[in-house]
Amino acid sequence: MHALYDRLKALFPLGELTEQRANLAFATLPVEYLRPALLHLRDQEGYTHLVLLTAVDWLEDGQENCQFQLTYLLNNRAENLDIGLRVMLPREGTTMASIHDLWPTAATYQRELREMFGIDFPDSPGVYEEFILEGWNDIPPYRRDFDTLKYANDSYAQRAGRETRDPETHMKEQLYPGKS
């Protein structure tokens, strides 16, 4: 993994390597280097498989202008290695270059990301079609600034008399009554 990281580092301004497991690691790089890096990994290093493309909303981290994190997880089947390339994007008016021409499956991920996070991938096929939600009329629900409880209370009739308990204390209460 380190060898790969070193080779990549020579080519692209990679951030530091986060090793999850022996065969899974992540590295961050600036947006403009993403595509060449993906191409290099795919064509030179044997990372031919796009495992997933996903986003994390780092709203609570409070980093200025840099709050969506996209992860492109690639897999090298021959050596059983995974590497995730991460890029950071601004939260407002987010657009990102599509990579559906590198992996056609990426189009589906991008469609989902547009719907759930509002990250736009212009040019990605069918990216503006509804994917999971039908007739969604609020901000994208996976964004951290979307208040799901408020939305649920506003949209759905809640049954009266429902109680919410903390599972941990409730189960202790149930199983070992009077010991808490």
């Binding site: 509804e130 999971i132 939600l133 039908e134 007739g135 969604w136 009329n137 609020d138 629900p141 979307f146 799901t148 409880l149 939305y151 649920a152 209370n153 949209s155 759905y156 009739a157 809640q158 049954r159 429902r162 919410t164």
Partner: protein
């Protein structure tokens, strides 16, 4: 509205153009009506007995609870001995089991399937999620209260209820039917506007006729 449902001008083979309005031309727009039972009580009771002894469940797993229905067909539980069968088409089914959480997207399909069933028809809500949302009580896309959207005859509680609970529930449903108390379809027809309003409140892209015959 989806493009295929929009009004469109088409040219007939004789060259005359005319308008096609899919919602009007392709779908029946009659509302449901209240259906009374047989005039003679004993006949209606007889029919109710038959209805109770012949529960045909629509094979539509709406959520995770569907997994609990499968064991009912196995030798261990064998629901068939109670006159319960699964049918693949709503036209022939009388019992819609909402098995677990119901997302708004699935709700649309469930409504469609329910409306396509022939009355008298019954709805059983399975698990906490159908009752009050259960663990999805704050989810942005599951309904919390099934009876807001379709007339529920019976809830079976639990998360998840085990097959035995289902069997017990079905037996209770039979009692309701035999007693002539399972008139959900008529209730739906009577309070049609209320149900529709509720449904449309959560289904934002309503792209079907109000009643799916």
């Amino acid at each position: 509205m989806k493009p295929e449902l929009l009004k469109r001008m088409v040219k007939g083979p004789d060259g005359v153009e005319f308008e096609v309005e899919p919602m009007r031309d392709y779908y029946c727009d009659a509302p449901p009506t209240v259906q009374h039972g047989a005039y003679i009580k004993i006949v209606e009771d007889f029919f109710n007995w038959a209805r109770a002894e012949s529960l045909w469940i629509l094979g539509f797993g709406t959520g995770c609870g569907a997994i609990e229905m499968r064991p009912l067909m196995t030798p261990r539980f064998d629901a068939y001995r109670y006159g319960i069968q699964w049918r693949p088409t709503p036209r022939q089914a009388n019992l819609l089991v909402i098995s677990g959480y119901l997302s708004t997207k699935t709700l649309k399909r469930a409504i469609r399937a329910y409306e396509q069933m022939q009355s008298p028809k019954y709805v059983v809500g399975l698990g906490s999620c159908t009752i009050n949302g259960g663990m999805y009580w704050d989810s942005y896309n599951t309904i919390k209260c099934l009876d807001q959207y379709m007339p529920v005859d019976l809830y079976i509680t639990g998360c998840m209820p085990r097959p035995e609970a289902l069997l017990a529930g079905f037996e209770d449903l039979k009692k309701l039917i035999r007693a002539g108390k399972a008139e959900g379809a008529n209730q739906y027809a009577e309070r049609f506007d209320w149900y529709k309003a509720n449904q449309k409140q959560v289904i934002h892209d309503w792209d079907m006729p109000d009643y799916n015959w």
